[in-house]
């Protein structure tokens, strides 16, 4: 164990407590029978029941999940293409602009992205006389646009670590460029692409501001629904929602962690079996 200063340890301790305390409290209160935080009315699951019976919540959740799945998939495709172009094509005209378009969405305030896309859709409708209703489709388009940048960052980071001689070796052995992409490059980049998909899915699922701007009547996503509920104050069934989310995420992370550990153990075992005698 490397010697660590007490200051660092204190910072770590405080930091993690700071991050998790609010969540812990919400989880506890989701089981509170009373709707007021002030009073502990006893252990109860009534908020969970209310939540799961609420038509609004379930519809919004289902819509959000569908939009997120579509957006994440499309963003993964576009983001991977962008990453490939960046890493393999070296200098080309318009590269700076391309990089800019892939960096800006990462930091652009959501109100600006949301507003600009909405105005864009409205102008399209007006200028070109296109008739389309704003809704799930426009939300998905918006999500794909900013998620592509995130996927591109993740995949590009992996691709730039990829030894170019792997692809050269494949070509030398007879693989044509397109074949090499599917035989070598993409398979090796798959974990990064999957991580990018997951990231895009989460971002899409979680987006409030942009969806508010570009959505239409009848398309209420889960964050939009929650926002309208909590503006007015704390609502206990949202506590239940938080707890459910925490459980899902914790479960997902644990499973991923266990899966990784098992792979490590397996690898170590097979390495022993094979032995490293030259």
């Amino acid at each position: 164990m490397k010697p660590r200063s007490t200051f660092v340890l204190l910072a770590l301790g405080f930091g993690y407590a700071f991050l998790y305390l609010p969540l812990a409290l919400v989880v506890i209160y989701s089981f509170n029978a009373s709707s007021l935080a002030a009073v502990w009315g006893g252990f109860s699951l009534r908020w969970y029941a209310e939540l799961l019976n609420s038509r609004d919540v379930l519809d919004a959740a289902w819509l959000s999940v569908r939009i997120a799945a579509v957006s994440a998939t499309l963003a993964s495709v576009l983001g991977t293409m962008a990453a490939l172009a960046l890493v393999r094509l070296g200098r080309f005209r318009g590269r700076t602009l391309f990089v800019g378009m892939l960096t800006a969405p990462l930091v652009m305030p959501e109100v600006i992205t949301g507003l600009s896309l909405l105005l864009f859709f409205v102008s399209l409708q007006q200028l070109l006389g296109l008739v389309f209703a704003r809704g799930a489709g426009t939300i998905a388009i918006a999500h794909v646009t900013f998620c592509t940048a995130y996927v591109a960052v993740v995949v590009q980071s992996r691709l730039s670590q990829l030894d170019a001689s792997l692809e050269e070796a494949a070509m030398d052995l007879g693989g044509r460029p397109l074949g090499v992409l599917f035989d070598i490059t993409l398979p090796i980049a798959t974990p990064a692409i999957a991580a990018g998909w997951l990231l895009a899915f989460t971002l899409s699922l979680d987006d409030l501001v942009i969806a508010s701007f570009v959505s239409g009547p009848g398309s209420t996503t889960l964050p939009m629904l929650i926002f309208s509920k909590v503006r007015l104050g704390v609502t206990p069934d949202v506590n239940a929602l938080v707890t459910i989310m925490v459980l899902i995420v914790a479960a997902g992370v644990s499973i991923a962690g266990i899966a990784m550990q098992r792979r490590e153990a397996e690898r170590a075992r097979s390495r022993e079996q094979i032995g490293t005698a030259a």
Binding site: L9, F18, L36, R88, F92, G94, V107, L208, I226, G257
Partner: protein, 314 residues
Amino acid sequence: MTSPAPPHRDGPDPEPGTSAWRLRSPWERVTLAVPYAWLAFFFLAPFAIVFKISVADPIVAQPPFTPLFDVGAEGATSLHLTLDNYAFVLADRLYLLTYLGSLKLALLTTFLCLLLGFPMAYGIARSEPTTRRVLLMLVIMPFWISFLLRVYAWMGILGRHGVLNELLLWTGVISQPLELLHTDAAVFLGMVYSYLPFMILPLYATLERLDESLLEAASDLGGRPAEVFRDVTLPLALPGTIAGCLLVFIPAMGEFVIPALLGGADTLMIGRVVYEEFFFNRDWPVAATVAVLLLLLLVGPIVLLQRYQEEDAT
């Protein structure tokens, strides 16, 4: 940004990042063109539209602004531009205060995140690999849980009937519940809470890349831990640190959700202004103008970010 050179090369690299057999095959063009076109159409073009609307007049119509080109009686088109919106916004002291308020909030948030995030990132980067993985997971996990829900959690704590007030009342520290929610302080708290992972992760990435042997060499040459930190760690981590700060500062400037939920009626933030001008006042041109001005303020930092990210990567 570029692929590493193959392990053994004579002479300088040919254009960095090119596959050695320079292929300008149609497939490569497609791979570049598709995302390029998408982003140009759905990311870049909308900014042009925003700008265009910021120079239009608001009218009661659908959509509520005048078109750029007016087709007159004989079919002659004339350009309809106005800078009224800009004059309006720039002259109004309230807007100026709001921009400054957002700036203040963003700077303070960045600073506090840095203060807490740097030692945390440092601690994680220097820990054993197994512990490190767990610690990182713990930082990333809140990120997967909805942002909105985490801000909501603070509402529960800071509200009049929230946990904190209940605790203070119960222990007798106060006799009346404190107005903690809907204050500037609550907004600060919420901001730091939400943006902390965004500071920790890039800082961790930078610090993790730091070559341990450099620190050992400095120590071997007589540097005490504090000196080594100041002379070696800090300068090397600087580009990544600046990039991390910008990654917090830029979106914080335009933050909407946290001020909306945790802030008071008089908490003036630009993000909120844009939202309210648009949805409540239905004044699209002014909303567009405010957005354009915000964008102009952020262009500099965004360019800086790109530069520092590249510098950090090399």
